[in-house]
């Protein structure tokens, strides 16, 4: 019990810090900062989906931005064509994307490792081409504009700040659910597959089904992120849902560390900081960003959180040793 509590301490501390941050920041800063926070949190949801797939289940997919787009367009369609309210749009985006991912999972997970990764790159390209050309679904290359904001039980998220609160609430719930997943038997079978798929198979885990479920969960997270993005931005365009965006998610989780949702959070924060904080570097910004990614990978191949944890463990052992020798 004590051990469990101790393990969760960083999560609690970080959550408390974030709640404080999110509550205080909008009072003092501009729309810009609030929007950046919203975008970062939406990215965090997508990175969390990569965490489920890569961190827990060991599968590397480059189609996440595509699923993000599907979620966004489903929500956008429902909201602009008024098939239903905000809640319907959100649920449809989450379930629709999850269902699609689940079905695709059955087809795609017949492939292993690199083959799956490359098939997912193919899927990403197909989805992007669809977003550009399927006018009825996505509004074509011009995209979908004037999407109404999120409304629920008389509460309307009109201002940037209230949108941020809605996104933050969704992120909290999603993180909590993923932590539950981590401690569940399903989560353990994900990890079994990650560590050794053949052994997992021989222990009676249906690896195809389990991996498809992981894909569906990651799809649901991307769908939620998509619905949030539709409401935050009010405009959807194919330019957002690209292979490049998917690679950014992978970079984010790797920078943060694949071992825990905290890694996803730190990675998202680090890249957002690199991209937005160094805007004054003008056209050197992207170059610095690239160099930053290489340097971080060289010095922290386990990510900031993973590397930090290793460092902390070493430090603790070192201290215990010195204590023992002092006695």
């Amino acid at each position: 019990m004590l051990a469990r509590k101790k393990r969760n301490t960083p999560v609690i501390v970080i959550t408390a810090f974030l709640i404080l941050l999110i509550a205080v920041v909008p009072q003092f800063t501009s729309t810009y900062t609030v929007r950046i926070l919203s975008v970062a949190l939406i990215n965090y949801l997508c990175v969390l989906s990569v965490y489920v797939l890569l961190g827990l289940c060991g599968q590397n997919s480059f189609a996440q931005a595509g699923f993000w787009g599907i979620g966004a367009y489903i929500a956008g369609n429902i909201l602009t064509k008024t098939f239903g309210g905000s809640l319907t749009a959100f649920v449809a985006a989450v379930c629709g994307t999850a269902f699609l991912a689940f079905i695709l999972g059955f087809a795609f997970f017949r492939l292993r490792q690199y083959y799956f990764t490359f098939a997912s790159i193919g899927l990403m390209t197909i989805l992007n081409v669809l977003f550009i050309n399927w006018v009825d679904f996505s509004g074509g290359a011009l995209g979908m504009k004037e999407i109404p904001t999120f409304q629920l039980f008389g509460f309307s998220a009109d201002s940037e700040t209230s949108k941020l609160y809605v996104v933050f609430a969704v992120c909290l719930v999603a993180t909590f659910l993923i932590l539950l997943l981590f401690h569940s038997s399903l989560g353990r079978s994900f990890m079994a597959i990650r560590d050794n798929e053949m052994a997992a198979d021989s222990m009676g885990i249906n690896s195809l089904l389990t991996k498809s479920i992981a894909f569906a969960i990651s799809g649901a997270l991307c769908g939620a992120a998509g619905a949030m993005w539709a409401s935050v931005s009010g405009y959807l365009s194919y330019q957002s849902f690209t292979y490049n965006q998917s690679t950014i998610y992978l970079v984010m989780i790797m920078i943060g560390g694949t071992g825990s949702p905290i890694g996803a959070l730190i990675g998202t924060a680090a890249i957002t900081i690199l991209q937005e904080g160094f805007r004054s570097l003008q056209d050197y910004m992207q170059l610095i960003y690239g160099i930053g990614v290489i340097i971080l990978m060289i010095f922290q191949p386990e990510g900031i959180w993973g590397g930090g944890k290793i460092l902390y463990e070493r430090f603790r052992k070192h201290r215990e040793k010195s204590k023992v020798s002092a006695v």
Binding site: A107, Y114, L130, V251, I291, E302
Partner: protein, 288 residues
């Protein structure tokens, strides 16, 4: 129309095939897919541009000089974004290659500017063959590609350096035990891979033009070629490239011009469903 599509399909296909071959060489040696390979293509094109347009050299000489420069770039790339990470997990190396890809792309923009550029063709004009008009550049691409394939085959199979590289690819630890300098061998592999891809860039630049993002699209098609061919197989990569090129041309003409790009990947995915390990399957058993 048929022959027209066939020839351009083959010409573009061998280029995809060569880029894929570059990736396969690296993959066989270090077990990592190089996500920055497309940017080697772009850099090679820019080097050829520098020698050809800025210094006014003949295009063939420019291509050879560009190839030498690419060899250096390959070694620098290997030293900065692979060697320091060789003991880390594969994911970390992929991400560092993505970082390198951004650096190469943005670096090229700072050096050569963002406005698209062009350079000389190996031979101007076109020839009419069986009712189809074929640009000489396409013929040159096919010819040079075949020549390069032969050279690589000869280098890998018949020379001492090639044997060292092959040995390193098979077992790094064992090769270090028998006295092969592994770092040199891996460096040579990266250099060779960059040289092959760089020359492709110089050949493609006059017809598709140079800009700093030209590598992304070509790179992702080369991925498709590798998967269709089966990982780790050099002939597989070439044949995969040809299939991608032909599907692109014939699919675009006969099935759907709008979804031409998507078609390649639909074929790829459907193909994988029936043959999950590509055309030339890996000979090595999956490790438990």
């Amino acid at each position: 129309m048929f022959i027209q599509l066939l020839i351009s399909g083959i010409a573009v296909g061998v280029i995809y095939g060569l880029i894929a071959m570059g990736m396969v060489l690296i993959f066989r040696t270090v077990g990592i897919m190089n996500f920055a390979q497309g940017d080697f293509l772009m850099f090679g094109g820019y080097f050829a541009y520098t020698f050809n347009q800025m210094f006014g050299l003949n295009i063939v000489i420019s291509l050879i000089l560009a190839a030498l420069c690419m060899g250096v770039i390959g070694v620098i790339f290997m030293r900065t974004s692979y060697w320091a990470l060789r003991k880390a997990q594969a994911k970390a190396i992929i991400v560092s290659a993505m970082g390198a890809s951004i650096v190469l792309r943005e670096g090229a923009r700072h050096i050569w500017g963002a406005i698209p550029l062009t350079l000389d063709r190996v031979k101007e004009g076109s020839v009419v063959l069986a009712g189809a008009t074929i640009q000489w550049q396409y013929v040159a691409i096919i010819g040079i590609a075949l020549l390069m394939m032969l050279l690589v085959y000869f280098l890998l199979e018949k020379t001492f350096i090639g044997n060292i590289m092959q040995a390193t690819a098979q077992d790094q630890y064992m090769s270090s035990l028998v006295g092969i300098p592994v770092v040199v061998s891996i460096g040579l592999t990266f250099a060779l891979s960059a040289v092959i891809t760089g020359i492709c860039g110089g050949l493609l630049a006059p017809i598709f033009f140079l800009n700093n993002t030209m590598g992304t699209m070509a790179g992702s098609k080369a991925f498709a070629a590798i998967v269709i061919g089966g990982f780790g197989s050099v002939p597989g990569a070439i044949i995969g490239g040809l299939i991608v090129g032909l599907v692109e041309q014939f699919g675009g003409a006969y099935i759907s011009s709008t979804y031409q790009l998507a078609l390649i990947y639909i074929v790829l995915i459907v193909f994988l469903m029936f043959r999950p390990k590509g055309l030339f399957q890996e000979k090595i058993q999956e490790k438990a």
